[in-house]
């Protein structure tokens, strides 16, 4: 049965009536047309669908809409969702985005939004991560072009510029 939800994404509230089992990823892409969050596996195995929920990285492909939205007529409070589109401030890129851009840390770029979101969450928790912490924090994200070396450089660069510390 469809239910009515209020979902807060990138600071905007959206009200929609839909199937409560739908993955957050599908709602972002199919209803809100926020295409920067990508489908990769549907099972939380690859990180392409990463978004921030109250600052923490989650896999939107395996999170149902009713887990993160405010459900009309219930106590369930909505959480604040940030997608790749919400990271930059107008024309000014988020420091992690800027670091990925400066390092050219992408090939096809399909995994890149998920990588940037995951790195943003990582740097928020650990503003100056060691290489081991970068690897641990990013191992849930697959880049099939295997451009990992540049990603590590980009995250180091963002950390040096204190990108995630704010």
């Amino acid at each position: 049965m469809d239910a009515t939800f209020t979902i807060r994404v990138n600071g905007n509230e959206h009200r929609l009536t839909t199937d409560p089992d739908r993955p957050l990823l599908d709602v972002l892409r199919e209803d809100l047309h926020l295409n920067g969050t990508h489908y990769g596996c549907g099972a939380g195995d690859c990180g392409a669908c990463s978004v921030l929920v109250d600052g923490k990285r989650i896999f939107s492909c395996s999170t149902a809409i009713n887990e993160v939205a405010e459900v009309a007529g219930t106590e369930a409070a909505g959480q604040s969702i940030t997608t790749i589109e919400g990271l930059s401030n107008g024309a000014k890129l988020h420091p992690v985005q800027q670091a990925f851009l400066d390092e050219g840390a992408f090939q096809c770029g399909y995994c890149t939004p998920g990588m940037i979101v995951a790195a943003t969450a990582l740097l928020k928790e650990k503003p100056s991560p060691s290489d081991a912490e970068i690897i641990e924090g990013m191992n849930g994200n697959i880049c099939r072009c295997c451009g990992y070396a540049r990603m590590i450089s980009a995250i180091r660069r963002a950390a040096e510029q204190n990108g995630g510390a704010k």
Binding site: T18, D19, D21, R22, P23, D26, R29, E30, H33, L34, N35, G36, T37, H38, Y39, G40, C41, G42, A43, D45, C46, A48, T83, I84, E85, L87, S88, L93, Q97, Q98, F100, L101, G104, F106, Q107, C108, G109, Y110, C111, T112, P113, I116, I134, I135, E136, M138, N139, N141, I142, C143, R144, C145, C146, G147, Y148, A149, R150, M151, I152
Partner: protein, 730 residues
Amino acid sequence: MNTPISDPLGNPTSTGQVEDEPESGEQTQLNRRQFLQSLGAGLLLAVIVPVDALAQERPPRGSGPNRTANEATLAARLHINEHGRITVMTGKVEGGQGARAQIAQAVAEELRVSPEMIDVIMADTALTPDDGGTHGSQTTPRTIPAVRRAASAARDLLLSAAAAKLGVALGELEARNGQIVNVANVRIKQELTYGQIATDVANSKAFTASPSRDIQISAVADWKVLGTSVPHPNARALVTGRHFYPSDYGGPLVLHGAVLRPPAYRAKLKSVDLEPAKNTPDVASVVRDGDFVGVAARTSLAARRAIESLEKSAEWDTTAVVPANTTNVYDHLRQNVRGGADAIKNPYADELTRSTASLRSEYRVAYIQHAPMEPRAAVAHFDGDRLTVWTGTQHPFDVRNELVRALNIDSPDKVRVIVPDFGGGFGGKHSGEVAIEAARLARAAGYAVRLVWTRAEEFAWAYFRPAGVMLAEANLAEDGSIDSWFYRNINSGNSGIASPYRAARNNTQFVQSEAPLRQGSYRALAATANHFARESFIDELAVLAKDDPLNFRLKHLGDERMIAVLRAAAEKGGYAATRLLKSVGTGVGIACGTEKGSFVAACAKVQIAPDGKSFRVTHICQTYECGKIMNPANCLSQVQGGLIMGLGGALYEEVEFDAGVIKNGNFTDYRVPRIADLPTMDIHLLDRPDLPSVGAGETPIIAIAPAIANAIYHATGKRIRQMPIRLDPA
């Protein structure tokens, strides 16, 4: 950036510079005239470059794919608008390999402008010439020279037009920075912008040229843009999530599709009850056409639920299913070899028997999957009887033809295939199945449909890199040279099969077999299998000859380029010292190879776990040479990425299957390289300005597996003849 060009669904075009939200466009099929209007006033050039004029740029060796009719000539279309912005139209696609930047560089170089002045429109069958697909590392050695000649012809045209306009001799003018400038007489400032000339010339007519054979392209020593690390033109859109991949098209104007899949490869649909799907909430359309059954729904969850309802009643004929599985597939391939036992019989068998130093080995590579991060995806939209499809494919024009046939459309002109920069191909996106499926669903629904394959579908229903059995047999003469060399590749393919090692007699062939799974192309295709087998076997022969593997190779190699990469990898990878000071549980191995005209060598170090059951690759030094490097940063990305992708096939990747059913079709059970798998990498690009540039997207993948297998032998004395390489198969 230039104004976004409208298309039937109001999406941005594939210039890759998607910065703004898409503007809503007209709901009409775009024709070329409208398109040119949208580019603004200016000059359009269609330049035909005969392929034989490019002969000197062709790689001296290597087995590229067969040339199609479309490739007999390479056309390049250029447009210069009134502001001097240059648009180049190419049938090539961008799937992360860096073609877009390199094509922009090629035009910028010859037209003497900065690459920011170039917009590249790629792979749109309504706008771009048919360049015969993007595969086999052909963009660098074939497309780039054609584009450079076209741009060079454009520069000549601009110079001639300016000379006429200014009333000066051609020799007094020079093209620089988007202007034609009188350089002979610097006291009077005499110059015309490209925009001024283009609008002037365009008053007469669009220009079609076949440049003369001796058209001048810039010498490497004069390069200003080529040879530099020009970034990905749509880099900013990639980091902001604003780039539109094929699976992003359609916006609010699409239904979401899903397709009923057989339980096993080669199973045929006998019957299915469509009613439950039709009754699923939010389902707009259910269609069956022969074996094809699909639905279109308001959400993709509704579409998947409708398919689940069909799976309950579907009955399948499984008599054609091949009963092979992960374990017995190698016996299956051997037993079903085309031509029977004779096809794999060594004509030098007697020599082997008589010789005191002979060797026979068999190597195996598993079926693996490309698993690009963006699964196959297409958005299909009918406007009357005209069809537009956005899809991620390496062959836009072939996919257009596939659509024409599959949907019985009476003319290819009624089908437009647009390939936005897509999320990875690796040789896996040559075909148009998802485009056809989306188009069938769109036709049935009377509405645009977006179809994105699930990861499980991508693992099970996309074609695989073929498994193979490689037979290698040789004997050594008294002096340690190779007397006879016999080699068969069963099923996996021909690429990279030719041995670079001198042998008095050589009999090398690829033979086909009966494939239990659907198989096709892959990054470097069989060059990986053939190099794994050959570079392992040559190591075994070195042991037989009681020689050092590096020495033995060097004695039998002739090609100076191969020798150069091999020596460099050994030197920079610390090969000799590690051989000499070998400590318990460590080993070093080396391997080299060539494919598609470029050369690679790898020196790998491994550490064996104390229990002897597992190992770690601790260090890889890889040297790579692809002639003159056109974009060093992109080349390095390709070499790093290829190396690590090769590590996946070397150590982890194997499709598990049984009787046509894929058993590990997800990223938990099918392990691809992750960031934690990254070994210490030491990569050296050997730039050769004296040699023509060749593609770098494939060859860096081929040397890593044999280098690791050889290092394991050095560490343990155990020879692993199977990819993925496992010390303890159980």
